[in-house]
Amino acid sequence: MFLWGANPRENHPIIYHHILKGIHNGVKLYAVDPRRTPSAQWADVWLGVNVGTDIALANAMARVIIHEGLVNEDFIARATTGYDAYRSAVEPYTLEHAESVTGVPADVIREAAITYAKAKRAVICWTLGITEHHNAADNVFALINLALLTGHVGRYGSGLSPLRGQNNVQGGGDMGALPNKLVGFQDPLDSDIKTRFEQAWGVTLPDHYGWNVSQMFEAMHRGDLTGMYVIGENPAQSEADQHHARKALEGLEHLVVQDIFLTPTAQLAHVVLPAAASWCESEGTVTNSERRVQRVHRALTPPGAARDEMWIVAQIAKRLGHDWGTPQAEPVWDEVRRLAPNMFGGMSYRRLEELNGIQWPCPDESDPGALFLHGRLWAEPRGGKPAPFTPVEYEPPVEMPDADYPFQLTTGRRLDSYNTGVQSGGYASPLRRREALDLAPEDAARLGVADGDMVRITSRRGSVEAPVHVEPNMRAGVVFMTLHNQDDVRVNVLTIDATDPKSGTAEFKACAVRVEPLGQTAVAGGH
């Protein structure tokens, strides 16, 4: 198993339980991560890559597999296209070149590649270490290429597993909360699909795609976007290059925020709509990282003036001239099933309860759901189109360290906190300490700072102050902070809004900073 840019021990702990069962059954674990995270500490091999060098590593592994004669020729022939171009593309990625780019010793890369190729079953799991880069999509293609090269996809126990970081980010996309997809990933510009939805909803749909969040911010800066309705998101703290992002939000003519707390984003709003905490105060469904749709139930009564979120949206619709009555969860879900039958057709509420959730696609009520995807690639004859190799070139992060900003800042999460801390800040975690800059012992010694000493961290975009935490799991030259405590340390003031045009994700994982001791020690009150 390869955990590649993923730290599930902290961020998907229960998935890690399943991984541990595999480990106890003999699974060999490889962890690719610039930091030796708690997940990596279980690994048989930790490959401590330099930040953002994953494509170089993956391509070098591919080259080893090809040269060792370990490619799955049968699978490549039956199920893929573009292999020749891919083989040429990875040829320059010698082990020596990969070692100099990634920092990982050549013999280690070689052994990892051979083990992956020879394994009977192998999984590559990734998360934001791969996708929070300016070339996120390319990073993912590099991993897909490895799976296609070796046939480790589309079979029970072998595959590609992106771990979704949030309880319903999968579901949000599934439901069509995307600028270019309707529910069930259906293309709104496809004329048949467009017609079907227009008939179902009795409206005319736009004939162009919308904007993703990054595009929205660009539009705000241009002045093309003047109003915004934010539901359950805190972009004033979660967006990269926070100064820049806030300016955009502050420039809006009309900002409406629907949330359960008066977040910093809500504080900028012209109108705040207090919402019930959907996960325990309303009915509905959410979809997890394994495509499993599960039922959410109301356990508590919302406080004060907080209202059910469907009710709020329906009220706005009413004032815009569309009376949807008082939508209830199940009928709305049944409409989803009608409009995206291939994915959800068989997922009645009754079946979801009975089966503890169902993994899509589940087209009809006799279908138990799909344990894994892409099995069609192994079918005889192959189902659907062949899977393409997508050759990609290594590109360093947009902003690399230099003389003025000699440290590389990478950001991420910790076990007991979550995103911008709106929810997780509300309980007394004994694990919590003040937001600090994780610094390697060598760098702490060179800067002359110890645990708790205050430093100023500056990027081209802004500056923050934080205490130091000397962390042996960091390598010299790399520093780490989380986004969890931005009321205390506004980490996203530092990060760079270098976005992948294909996916819309920003390069939260790499920017350049300098670190200056302030000659003070943090006031006790952390930990």
Binding site: H17, N167, F261, A299, L300, G304, S424, S429
Partner: protein, 314 residues
């Protein structure tokens, strides 16, 4: 899920009744299949059987000693007896010995068993006063103070409260090992606690008996639901019980999905008066197997912070 091949069956006799169970089943499975009600304390379906409590012992033809039914593999032709004088005597003694040395007042079912087996824990004499805090943690293997003829030793000691999330009351610990297993290789693999010391002085402990915030504990709470006696308890629950306000007639349990990461664990929210008082996850749900992490287990408090704010109690 993929269809599994039908397992071969084995046939054995329990209390003169012939029963067939799938190969790999335990003797306990076979006993339950014929409706025999055998008490268990240290057994849990999601953990490897430790067979330490010995309350589930049964007679097995051909065995000199009684055998623990929870872990003994059912085999073809076995003849098992669950209700003989020897079995009843051992069950009674195990319960008496425990009841005389451990606070079992919050262990469900035990009160019924004490009655059923006519236990008289008071026969061992008045109990010793509770140990001082940390006393039992300092006991040394191979040495003990000579018994005081006036009292019977117990494990009674002050409850350990060293964090805001859950408490450890080892005066209620029967050393069933389940918390250690849940924290260990059976599930969490954090190994924050282990059994330390030896014999009657054995206890559940962190390294050097440090408080939890100095230990490896990550507050997943996976030890809490496996504890059969309530030695491990949510602080919310403990505080309500101590104040006399724990009222199961005012409680309901509702399942929902955790609001945090993409795993999607089922949370069973136990609610009293519109407040969450305890969170568990179903043992038989194949995502969580009853386990959670700190956020799912304890991270729901933010829901009530709004309540406090909107009630004006900011």
């Amino acid at each position: 899920m993929s269809a599994r091949a039908r397992k071969p069956m084995v046939e054995l006799t329990v209390d003169e009744t012939v029963v067939s169970v799938p190969e790999g089943s335990s003797v306990l499975d076979a006993c339950r299949a014929v409706g025999s009600d055998i008490p268990t304390l240290c057994f849990l379906e999601t953990l490897h059987p430790v067979n330490a409590c010995r309350v589930c012992v049964v007679e097995l033809e051909g065995s000199r000693v009684l055998v623990p039914s929870c872990s003994r593999r059912a085999e073809q032709g076995m003849r098992v007896k669950t209700d003989t004088p020897r079995v009843r005597h051992s069950r009674r003694m195990v319960l008496e010995l425990l009841a005389s040395s451990v606070d079992l007042t919050t262990a469900p079912q035990v009160a019924d068993w004490l009655e059923e087996y006519e236990c008289a824990p008071e026969r061992f004499g008045p109990t010793a006063p509770p140990a001082d805090a940390g006393d039992r943690d300092a006991r040394v293997a191979g040495h003990h103070a000579a018994p005081d003829p006036a009292v019977a030793a117990t494990v009674d000691q002050p409850v350990k409260v060293d964090n805001d999330l859950y408490v450890r009351d080892y005066g209620k610990c029967i050393l069933c090992y389940k918390c250690v297993e849940a924290c260990g290789t059976d599930h969490q693999n954090t190994f924050a606690i282990a059994v330390a010391g030896r014999g009657f002085d054995a206890r559940i402990s962190t390294e050097f008996a440090v408080p939890l915030p100095d230990s490896a504990c990550v507050y997943c709470g996976n030890c809490i639901p496996v504890c059969p006696t309530g030695a491990l308890m949510f602080k919310t629950e403990r505080d309500l019980r101590d104040a006399g306000n724990w009222d199961e007639s005012r409680q309901h349990v509702t399942d929902t999905i955790c609001p945090y990461c993409g795993v999607g664990c089922t949370l069973e929210l136990r609610v009293q008066d519109n407040q969450v008082v305890r969170v568990t996850s179903p043992l038989d749900h194949d995502i969580s197997l009853g386990n959670l992490c700190i956020k799912g287990r304890f991270g729901w408090r933010f829901v009530e912070n709004r309540r406090a704010a909107s009630d004006g109690a900011r």
